[in-house]
C-alpha cells in the first residue's frame, strides 16, 4: 500500500505555484532517483583539496511537454564541477516518471526542484550545513522563484558529505 509521506507546504505559501505538494518518498521511483543522485555525484580529489566550503544549491530540472529537458540550472555560487556531475545524470533523470513521485502533477510543463547540499567532514576541512541553514536557504531560493511561468514541484533535500583525502599510498 502506498504511503504518501511528505507534505511540503509551510515554506512555500508565498509562491503561487508552490501549493501543497504530496511527495511519495516510499515508492520505487523516488528510491531510484534517490539512489542515482546519491551515488553518482562526485567531485574530484583536487577540488576536495582546494574547496573547503559547504554548498547549497537548488537544482532545477525542467520538464517540458512531459519530457525531462537537458539543461539543468543551479542557484547560488557557480559550481561547474557539480554541474558536470549532475549533467551526467540527465540520461538517468529522463527515465524518471515524475508523476509517480508527485501524484498531483497535472501539467505537461513544470519544473522539478531538487535542493542539494554538499559538505566536508575531512580532517583538513570540516564544513557542513545545518538543517536549519538548509531550510533558510531553500526558503530564500523559492522566494526568488515567485512569478515563474511554470509550476514547480520540490523534492526533499539531498546531499553528500565528503570524507576527503584520508587514506593514501605513497611511493618513494
Amino acid at each position: 500500500m502506498k504511503r504518501l509521506i511528505i507534505l511540503i507546504m509551510p515554506l512555500f505559501l508565498s509562491s503561487h505555484y508552490l501549493v501543497a505538494q504530496r511527495v511519495d518518498t516510499s515508492g520505487m521511483e523516488y528510491k531510484r532517483l534517490h539512489k542515482e543522485v546519491s551515488t553518482n555525484v562526485r567531485i574530484t580529489m583536487r577540488l576536495i583539496d582546494s574547496v573547503c566550503e559547504a554548498i547549497f544549491t537548488l537544482v532545477t530540472i525542467p520538464v517540458r511537454d512531459g519530457q525531462t529537458g537537458d539543461s539543468l540550472t543551479f542557484t547560488g555560487k557557480h559550481q561547474p564541477y557539480l554541474q558536470e556531475s549532475f549533467q551526467r545524470l540527465v540520461p538517468r533523470l529522463r527515465s524518471i516518471d515524475w508523476r509517480q513521485i508527485f501524484p498531483d502533477i497535472k501539467e505537461r510543463d513544470y519544473d522539478i526542484l531538487l535542493p542539494y547540499t554538499y559538505g566536508f567532514e575531512a580532517k583538513e576541512c570540516f564544513d557542513t550545513l545545518s538543517t536549519r541553514a538548509i531550510k533558510h536557504k531553500l526558503s530564500y531560493e523559492l522566494h526568488l522563484r515567485q512569478g515563474s511561468r511554470v509550476p514547480s514541484y520540490v523534492l526533499p533535500a539531498m546531499g553528500i558529505t565528503f570524507w576527503g583525502r584520508q587514506w593514501s599510498k605513497t611511493g618513494k
Partner: protein, 433 residues
C-alpha cells in the same frame, strides 16, 4: 480324486493367470514398477550417500526413474534467479550402465527469457532455447551448450564472476561474439558465457552437427519428463539484485584499465582480496566503489576517499595518473590492492577514526602483506615471491612493522625501497607501453 484333480488344475490355472496378469500389468506400465522403482531409488540414494559431492539438497520425493537407458533424475532444491527474470534449475542425473555401475552428474537448465516465458525452466528436448550445463558432483563444469530450438548449437562456458559488470569487463577473444546469461544464487553472480566462434560452431540443424558437442546426451529426453515441482522448489518470484554493478570502473588510461581488469574483474581473479572486494561491494546495495584516475600529489600513488549521501556510502579509489605514468603493471596492481584494503577497512569498520590511515597501515603491515603478495602473484604469475612481498610493503613505511625492518635489517629495508622504485619507474616488471 476328481475334486482333488480339479482343485490342482484350478490351482495351476490360478498361478498361470496370476503370472500372466503380473506380466501384463508389468507391460502396461512399460519398464517401470513401483517396487523396482522404489528399489532403484533406494539404491540411488545409497549410492549418493557413498560418493563425494558438493553440499546440495535433493528432492527425492519428486525423483523420476527410467529404464533404457537406466537413470534416475532428482530435482535439486536450489534458489537461482536469472538476472533477466525467471529461474534456472538443476537436476541430479544418476546413470547406470550395463555393469550396474552408477555415474552422476548435475544438469543445469538456463532458459533464455523468451523460452522461459512460455515453458518455465524446464528442458523440452525438441524446443529448448538457452544453455544446458553439465556439472560434476562437486559442481565443477564439465560441458555445456547453447541450444536453439532443441539443437545444440554453440559451446557454452560457465564462468563465475562476482558480478555481471565483471563479466562484461573480462577479456574477449577477437573473432567471436559473446552472449551471456547471468544468474544469482547465494550471493554470487554466475555468468554463462556463450562464445560463438566459427571454429566452435556445432553445425546446422537436424542434430547432424559436426562437432563433438552435437551428439545428444542420453538424459536429454528425460530430465524434465517427471512430475517435478514447478521450479525444483525454488522461489518463483524472480529476484534481481540491484547491486551487481556497484563497482564502477571510470579509468581511462589503457594500462590502468587492463591492470584493474586483470586484478578484479578477470574471470580467474579469485584472490582473497578480489573476493573481499566483490563480496563487500556487491553484497550491499548501500556501499559503492568507484575507481578513478587523476593527477594527485606527486608523492601519492593512490588515494581512497569517500562520502556519505542519503544512506549510501560511496568509496572512491583514485590512481595518480601522472605519478604512475611509467609504472609497471605490477606496481599499479599493488597500488590498487593497497587502496582496496583501505576501502575494505573503511566499510568494515564504518567511518574511521582520526588516524585511520595510520591504523589501517598497521593492519596491512601486520596481516595483509602476504595476502597482497598472493594476489599479485596470482595476477602476474611471473613475478617472484620476493618481489611480490617487496611491492606489498609499498606505502607502509609509517607502520611499526616496517620500522622494525628498518631497525633490525636496514639493508633489507633499502632493498625493498629500491625494488619499489624500480617497479614504479618501469625499469622492473611488466611495462605498460
Amino acid at each position: 480324486m476328481f475334486p482333488s484333480i480339479c482343485s490342482r488344475e484350478s490351482y495351476l490355472l490360478s498361478v498361470i493367470a496370476l503370472i500372466l496378469g503380473m506380466t501384463l500389468l508389468s507391460c502396461s506400465k512399460e519398464d517401470e514398477t513401483p517396487q523396482s522403482a522404489q528399489d532403484e531409488l533406494s539404491q540411488a540414494k545409497s549410492w549418493w550417500a557413498s560418493v563425494q559431492h558438493a553440499e546440495m539438497v535433493l528432492d527425492w520425493e519428486h525423483a523420476l526413474e527410467k529404464k533404457n537407458p537406466e537413470l534416475v533424475v532428482v530435482p535439486v532444491i536450489w534458489n537461482s534467479n536469472l538476472l533477466t527474470g525467471g529461474l534456472s534449475t538443476r537436476k541430479l542425473v544418476i546413470l547406470k550402465d550395463s555393469l550396474q555401475r552408477r555415474e552422476g552428474l548435475i544438469i543445469q537448465v538456463i532458459p533464455n527469457s523468451d523460452y522461459y516465458k512460455e515453458n518455465g525452466a524446464r528442458f523440452f528436448a525438441g524446443s529448448f532455447n538457452g544453455s544446458l550445463i553439465e556439472l560434476d558432483l562437486n559442481l565443477q563444469y564439465r560441458d555445456g551448450a547453447y541450444y536453439v530450438d532443441g539443437q545444440r548449437k554453440y559451446p557454452a562456458k560457465l564462468d563465475h564472476y562476482p558480478s555481471r559488470e565483471a563479466y562484461e569487463h573480462s577479456p574477449k577473444t577477437e573473432g567471436c561474439t559473446y552472449s551471456s546469461t547471468a544468474y544469482y544464487s547465494a550471493g554470487v553472480v554466475t555468468v554463462v558465457g556463450t562464445s560463438v566462434c566459427s571454429s566452435t560452431y556445432f553445425g546446422g540443424g537436424g542434430g547432424g552437427g559436426t562437432g563433438k558437442g552435437a551428439d545428444r546426451h542420453p538424459w536429454e529426453d528425460f530430465i524434465d519428463e517427471g512430475d517435478f515441482p514447478s521450479e525444483g522448489g525454488s522461489d518463483p518470484t524472480p529476484y534481481i539484485p540491484n547491486s551487481v554493478t556497484d563497482i564502477k570502473n571510470h579509468l581511462t588510461t589503457p594500462c590502468f584499465k587492463t591492470t584493474v581488469t586483470d586484478l578484479i574483474y578477470k574471470a580467474g581473479a579469485q584472490s582473497a582480496i578480489s573476493q573481499i572486494i566483490w563480496g563487500m561491494f556487491s553484497a550491499s546495495d548501500k556501499v559503492n566503489l568507484s575507481i578513478y584516475e587523476e593527477e594527485l600529489r606527486p608523492s601519492e600513488d593512490g588515494v581512497t576517499s569517500g562520502g556519505q549521501s542519503g544512506g549510501y556510502v560511496n568509496i572512491d579509489i583514485t590512481l595518480n595518473s601522472t605519478g604512475l605514468a611509467n609504472a609497471s603493471k605490477e606496481y599499479i596492481a599493488v597500488t590498487m590492492l593497497h587502496e582496496c584494503l583501505h576501502a575494505y577497512f573503511n566499510v568494515k569498520n564504518k567511518w574511521p577514526l582520526e588516524d585511520a590511515n595510520y591504523v589501517q597501515h598497521q593492519a596491512m603491515a601486520g596481516m595483509y602483506v602476504e595476502v597482497m603478495a598472493d594476489a599479485l602473484q596470482q595476477t602476474y604469475p611471473t613475478i617472484s615471491r620476493s618481489d611480490a612481498i617487496d611491492l606489498a610493503w609499498g606505502g607502509l613505511d609509517k607502520s611499526l612493522a616496517w620500522k622494525n625492518i628498518v631497525t633490525s635489517n636496514p639493508s633489507e629495508a633499502n632493498r625493498i625501497l629500491l625494488k619499489n622504485q624500480a617497479y614504479k619507474n618501469g625499469s622492473s616488471g611488466t611495462k605498460c607501453n
